[in-house]
Symmetry: D2
Subunit: 302 residues, 4 copies
């Protein structure tokens, strides 16, 4: 079966207090993420605030991550745009820069049908690397049924992976896999919140932002090696953090705050418009980390 497998971390994009990309933090975060054993890295996802970057910034970000990675793990680049030409242009640039694949969500409000299929066909025809189809209605208002995803994959063989994020993800993963007949793998997302149950229903890993990627790696390695008890134990142990960090609309902000605490980035600020954490949630994050004794197990770096 073609398609991605394992844990792909969607990289946060660190900014300096003045709002510019913090390149030093980006390098440090990339290096650390690789060091945590991920199978790959995805950049320019929603969790990387890609939709709020300028085109020049996106290019620069790709450049830096590619340079730091130096081929040690595959890099998937998000290239979603509302226009087909713009998606193609970004996808070609990603390929030229060394991307192992591109991640493409449907254009805003473009529901499944011939026009959506054509969008993916044209992107596929313009590049030689595989496409990850992103299923995440909150960003584009597009709902993809299992049947619609399977039809897209059949029409566009370059789609070898589906990042399935519209809940309930475990059962939808199983339903979609049945229709895919081996044409693509499915990975989860949503901050890993349902990771164990997604694996139980056939997911081949997860592609998500999470501030402790090594925990997802540990779950995946255990699962992959057949040690389901260890996978379950690890997932259950850290579930409070998965749930806390994975809060809809706030996840990107909480994650950056944790990355900052870990010493992986200097500043937790998000580009606007974006959610802001109040003091209360910072205290509750502290309480959650303390309850899990997570700083002992996974100490702050740097």
């Amino acid at each position: 079966m073609p398609g991605l497998r394992g844990v792909y971390n969607i990289l946060s994009t660190p900014f300096r207090p003045d709002g510019a990309i913090d390149e030093a933090s980006l390098r440090r975060l990339t290096e650390a993420t690789i060091g945590m054993g991920v199978d790959g890295i995805t950049i320019l996802g929603v969790a990387g605030e890609a939709q709020k970057l300028l085109q020049e910034e996106r290019r620069r970000l790709i450049e830096i991550v590619m340079e730091v990675t130096a081929g040690r793990v595959p890099i998937i680049v998000g290239t979603s745009h509302d226009g087909t030409e713009a998606t193609i242009a970004a996808s070609r640039e990603a390929q030229a820069a060394g991307a192992a694949g591109v991640m493409v969500a449907p254009p805003t409000f473009l529901q499944p049908g011939p026009a959506l299929t054509r969008h993916y066909e044209r992107v596929a025809a313009a590049i030689d690397i595989p496409i990850v189809l992103q299923d995440f209605p909150p960003v584009n208002g597009v709902t993809l049924s299992p049947r619609a995803m399977a039809d897209l994959v059949r029409a566009v063989p370059a789609i070898t992976t589906i990042k399935l994020e519209d809940p309930p993800t475990p059962q939808r993963t199983a339903q979609t896999l049945q229709l895919l007949e081996g044409r693509a793998t499915i990975v989860g997302g949503l901050g890993g919140m349902y990771m164990l149950d997604e694996l139980r229903r056939g997911a081949s890993g997860t592609m998500t932002g999470f501030a402790y990627p090594e925990i997802l790696v540990r779950i995946w390695r255990a699962w992959e090696s057949g040690d389901r008890a260890e996978a379950e134990a690890t997932y259950y142990r850290y579930l409070p953090l998965l749930v806390f960090e994975g809060q809809p609309k706030l996840g990107v902000a909480i994650r950056k705050e944790i990355l900052r605490r870990r010493g992986l980035i200097d500043c937790a600020v998000l580009r606007e418009p974006g959610p802001r954490l109040d003091d209360g949630i910072r205290e509750d994050l502290e309480a959650t980390l303390r309850a899990l004794a997570i700083d002992d197990v996974y100490p702050p770096l740097g």
Copy 2:
């Protein structure tokens, strides 16, 4: 401060295999739920499939639950309809039947503004019992900002409780409480998935469907008595089940399956249209319950 406090269980509506309301199961479930120590019961919520019942069935269901309860705990009745007159009629019937309050969500697609305010004003004017404002966009497409909820409560003092369910619920609870200035309490929902963090941010309890209400009661009692460590420990222990059962769109179905396993209802069928569980999810439910050793702690009844 006026408003509800504690754990209000949203009762599932049990059906017989032929689709009719299973009155015997309904009586058993009601009795058992009271026995678990809940502070109140809410009927005819979304989790009770109210929108799929006939008017006669809603009346009969109120009658039975009132009879079984016999005043031991307060009963809140969901009376949401798209028209004001219909909401008023249902609310008056609920009051006449002995309801302690009514739960009212905004009519479909009626966003905050004068017409929505007027809807609540007219309902309030027609009854003498308090109103629970339900904030749950998936059922009606209506998004309520903290400011919009606070404005509604100011305009309609009969709204003494907000059931806040649009995530991120903990931070929105805190933001809304600040604007409410003591005019109403806020309770959580969403199957209790964020209950601990909602309490941390000022929630006065939770009003939600969940197949082990006694777990939520234990969390609340510990929290209420100041034993936060016990509240945390209990929440963390059972979080895998809260997350599993609380899966968006599937929760009502998983919950009924658990209630069936516990012996509280005879048949787990839902009214159509509704989600269906496949065999895989039943196995994973089994695995989840086993991992939590929950059947030892909270044995199947009956």
Copy 3:
């Protein structure tokens, strides 16, 4: 080809100033509408504020209209509910009361797929009269592609007519007809605003609320008899009124105001929540009618 043809007027539901159904006005309006030459009448549509009526009121309304009509034209009854059982119950009652068909929109937010198909299958199995599938996203958040509609019709042969109202309606009518292969007719809606172009693309008429149904009848009769010039001339002549009355969200209110001016109903009030006309729009309505000299051509009745 099975399916409805011609002009079906969606009857407004007249209320008295105190909010109760105005039965005398309802009888007068029904009689007048038949007198205008419509091919049929549809009751309990969105334009009839069905979603704001109590069950008893819906029953009474059916009874009155059936009695006044006395079989002179077919009556289609809207029976849309969010639950299948409730839809079936309403559909059976409609059939028992003498309905020629039922109009059923998809339940709220139930997008095309097996569950939606099953909803229609079960309704069809419970009655012996045909179903009109209503395609109108503003009421339920459901978008139906031409393919989805054709698939539903193929799966449920009792659906013999589609009331297609998601713009652009003319081209979508043509696209859907191509896929339907004669299994159903398509009629327009949207207050008749696009009626001419819908007919050009194959529509078999229109089923809509409009305060001068005789104008739509005249367009249809001309078109049907092959006198396209007359159909065009009539449509263009009255287009200012079709556009004015057909304003999204306000149409039901403007229509009632016109019906009141014509003497067909006593009071133009709508059930809440609903739009309200301000004085300015009443003046502009006056100006529009004056510009069309419509009161000379179609004088106020009564």
Copy 4:
């Protein structure tokens, strides 16, 4: 009262058959549009397919239109982006290129509230030219009530014009103007379909795409000079075309086909994803233009 007045044409973006911007057609179209007497031109709107252009293409398009216009009419530039920094960057570039103002729609799904206000505040602080607030839910899923728009204008005085496009536009225009207290003007859109009634309710003109801008100019001039009868007569005469071209989702494509027929652009192709006209709609367009004898009055150019 500050704010725009008159007819601002939203320029279509002509492409060559190979998909690149057709610069010669763009120059011809710009020159012709100015020649039709418009009060201003808006580029990079939704009707200009801005969301499907590359950044370089947007820059080039601004450059060409500025060069051709040479200050004869003010140019408004659409600079909407999902991120504040990107919106600022585009707005500054527009200002530097000579724009008279920028048009900014809310970021996707960012409903009214402090974050949206802050977005506009930051854009306003970064430039010295006024902002046109665009109210058009289909592109971003954002609904703005009259109150929300008035609050935004009060908070951000640089917003001197609202392009109000969520129907019913005439009554909403009146309601919003009442709350604005002279702080901003309101112009219509929606292809001019409701232009007369928008003017009746206080609109200061229209900013919209339409293939015969001179018709809108004539309506506006008549209205402005107090000759309401002439304004009405012109609007009613051409209403069939306003309705036909203004069909939701198809308007941009129909407009380009007309511009091509008029000789103003060489090729009617749209960037993908986008609607496509079938042969039937082309025939009906022909019939509509013939019925209006429009090619005699406004002959094809070039």
